[in-house]
Structure formats: C-alpha cells, structure tokens
C-alpha cells in the first residue's frame, strides 16, 4: 500500500480519531445507511461480537477490529450508520470526518439490497469524498425473498465502483469482499467514480476555489469536496481547516 511520508502525516489524523493502527495495517472504514447489516459485516469479517441490533444510533462510538487476508492484517473501523454525510448529526459528523480527514485506505459502503434506491444518496456523497471505496450490497437473500433482482454488473458499471453482493449473516460473499479490499489497498483494483456535476455557477466557483485551496493545503485531500463544503458554508469544515492550517 506504500506508506509514504504523506500518509504518515495522515497517521496523526488517525490518532486523533483514535484508530489503533500501526503503520503496517491498512485502515478500512465501514460506512452505510442504518440497518443495512453494517455491524453484521463487521462481525463476520473480524470475528468479533460487536452487538448488532435494530435501533438507531447503536454505533455512535466507532468499533474497531482486525482481520487477516492472504497474510495481510487489516484494521476495520465500523462507523455509525447514516443516511447522509452532510453532518446533520454527531453520527454523520463522525462518519464524514473519518472518511475525509482520516483518509482510510478503503471505505466499504454497506448497502441494503432490498431498498437500493434509498442507499444511493449516501453512495453519491461518498463518491464525492473519496475514489477509494467499494459498495457492499448486503441482505441479498432478503432482496431475493422480496423478488428484488439487482444487476450487479450494470450497477457497478453505472457507479464506476466495484459492487460486491453479500449475505453477511450467512457469511456469503465475504471472500469476494476481502479480495476486493485487498486489491484496492494494493492499488490493483481502481475505480472510475461518476461524480455529480453541478450547475455552471457552482462548477465555475469550484474552478476558482480548487487551485487556491491547493496552494494552501496541498494535494493531500480531495479539494473539490472541500471547495463544495466551503460553498455550502459548512461551519464545521471551516473550523476544522482553521484548526489544522492556521499556521
């Protein structure tokens, strides 16, 4: 995965998020809507027994564990389930900040195959933050029971992102998921995310902001997203930037 000087700077950020990773361990974040079986995926991968249950805000404090695949140990961070990453709540802020500032090696978004549509809001938001992510479409068995059939290849092609169907409860598809994670960490599995294009005024403002942000912050972060947040007047992000780049 090539931990360079650049990513050791990121490690400082990871410390802030209390990720107990040594430098060798790639960090994998698990995000997704509430009730998609995210914690079940977490448990199935790590063999831990983080409590799974059906109520909101169950995973406010992020749970962490490790799993090994083909001789590499990965650190998995379970983020709170959210419908959005626009930071309307503490959970959303944790999830968003971790994915953006924590810069995980791979983000796995767990989606509910029984109601794919309502997971796509989060999918497009993640896509704007990072290109390094995988869509894990869970609850495939329940979808089948509800006579919902999903064309995985087509979905993957439309999103420009690998889509892995799973039934985490029965441990189905997990090897494929681990293989995809490993491939992305090694840089062999890449994505072609279909980014949202905005109205001309917004795109022009982005064209103006991004190079200016680049001269202050460098290329470590996804500046298009940052510029969008600034246009949005997102006070949390402005505070973050002031705290980090005030010198």
């Amino acid at each position: 995965m090539g931990l360079t000087n650049q990513s050791s700077g990121i490690n400082v950020l990871r410390e802030r998020f209390n990720v107990k990773s040594n430098l060798e361990q790639p960090v994998i974040a698990l995000a997704g809507n509430p009730n998609t079986g995210k914690s079940t995926v977490f448990n199935a991968l790590t063999g831990l027994n983080q409590h799974t249950g059906n109520w909101p805000g169950k995973t406010v404090l992020q749970a962490q564990g490790t799993f090994s695949y083909k001789g590499v140990e990965y650190r998995l961070v379970d983020l709170p389930g959210t419908y959005s990453l626009l930071a309307n709540s503490a959970e959303e802020e944790v999830a968003r900040d971790f994915i953006y500032f924590g810069n995980p090696d791979v983000t796995v978004v767990v989606g509910d195959a029984t109601c794919l549509e309502r997971n796509l809001n989060l999918v497009y938001q993640i896509m704007e933050i990072t290109p390094k992510w995988i869509f894990c479409l869970n609850l495939m068995d329940e979808a089948k029971r509800k006579k919902v059939y999903i064309n995985i290849e087509k979905l993957s092609e439309k999103l420009g992102i690998p889509v892995i169907p799973t039934v985490a409860r029965k441990e189905e598809g997990l090897t494929d998921l681990k293989e995809a994670i490993a491939g992305m960490v090694r840089g062999e599995l890449t994505t072609r995310p279909r980014l949202v294009r905005y109205d001309r005024e917004i795109e022009e403002a982005l064209d103006y902001l991004v190079p200016r942000l680049s001269s202050v912050i460098g290329e470590r972060y996804n500046l298009r997203w940052l510029a969008l947040k600034l246009l949005d007047g997102d006070q949390q992000i402005i505070n973050h930037l002031q705290a980090q780049f005030s010198n």
Partner: protein, 76 residues
C-alpha cells in the same frame, strides 16, 4: 396539501419543501425530493408522530416536519 394531512393508508407525491437550512437538507436526505411517493402507514396513539413509507423505508416524522412538505394526494 401538507404531508401530515395524508390519512393512514393513503398515498401522496412530494411537490415541494418549505423547509430551509438543516431541516431541508435532512428531509432531502430522507428521500423527500419532489416526485417521491409517500404513504401514511399509521399514526402513533397520540396522533403524532406519524409513520410513513418513504422509498422503501419506514420513517416516523413529527407533524412539525411533515408540515414542511407539500404533497399531492395520489389514488392507488
């Protein structure tokens, strides 16, 4: 009509949102964008909040929020 005026079992389609700022964003995140079909599943015993089916999920909204959503009733 407002979204809270949909009766249990009835359907309506979202026309527009009157909310601003964070509440508007929140409602959009829940899938309440213009054109979305919603159904009133049932009211809680005290009449508020109400459970709605929105894009494949059950979501309870208070009258306060559901009053910010303009809908058109849809016969089904």
């Amino acid at each position: 009509m407002k979204m809270f005026e949909i009766q249990p079992g009835e359907y309506a389609r979202v026309r527009s949102l009157e909310a601003e700022g964070n509440i508007r964003r929140r409602l959009l995140d829940l899938g309440l964008v213009p054109g979305t079909l919603v159904q009133n599943i049932r009211r809680s015993p005290l009449g508020d909040p109400t459970l709605y089916a929105i894009r494949g999920a059950m979501i309870a909204l208070r009258k306060e929020e559901a009053g910010l959503v303009n809908v058109d009733k849809e016969e089904r």
